[in-house]
């Protein structure tokens, strides 16, 4: 989440809203956001309904896998990063920096 925060200006300049999602409570996520200096919303998927709908619930963690989706204005997924590849969001930030995304 810190990596997205560091790139927030680039993302916002490309009309991109960042939303974090975990299965923690909304209150825990707010405390987490404050602790690490994240200013975008961290959403609570309490119970994991959305995590399961996205097919990324992992039994081993009893929590989501680490996955980043870049979703276009048409609602379609433009980029994905999964597990270790999702730690550095460079691919998504670079996609946002491309001029076509601003249209």
């Amino acid at each position: 989440m810190k990596a997205f925060q560091q790139n927030l200006k680039t993302l916002e300049a490309a009309d991109t809203q960042v939303l974090g999602v975990s299965m923690d409570s909304a209150f825990a996520n707010k405390a987490f956001a404050d602790q690490i200096g994240v200013t975008f919303p961290l959403l609570s998927d309490w119970g994991g309904k959305v995590t399961r709908e996205y097919g990324i619930y992992k039994d081993e963690y009893q929590a989501p896998r680490r996955v980043n989706f870049l979703i276009g204005k048409d609602g379609k997924i433009m980029e994905e990063q999964v597990d270790k590849d999702a730690i550095d969001p460079k691919k998504i930030v670079d996609a946002c920096a491309r001029p076509k995304l601003k249209n």
Binding site: Q17, L42, S44, V50, A63, V67, N68, F69, E80
Partner: protein, 78 residues
């Protein structure tokens, strides 16, 4: 007689629809969407420090791109 059969037919149809719906839900629940797919819509809670708010993915449709970043747990690095 005809009425009886139509009742059975309706019941069978309902059962078939339920089964199809369940199969669809199970399928969607287990497969991660791919690039080019429409992202499944959701409404999730967000606490802004004062109020609990609903954030709905489809509210951004036509307005802005969205990064949805799933992470494993709060307070664990990421």
């Amino acid at each position: 007689m005809q009425k009886k059969y139509s009742g059975i037919l309706v019941t069978a149809l309902l059962l078939a629809m339920t089964a199809a719906g369940y199969a669809q839900a199970t399928k969607e629940g287990s497969v991660m969407p791919k690039v080019g797919d429409t992202a499944p819509d959701f409404t999730l809670k967000y606490f802004d420090g004062n109020n609990l708010k609903d954030v709905k993915l489809s509210d951004y449709r036509g307005k802005s791109n969205v990064v949805v970043a799933f992470y494993i747990f709060a307070f664990t690095g990421g």
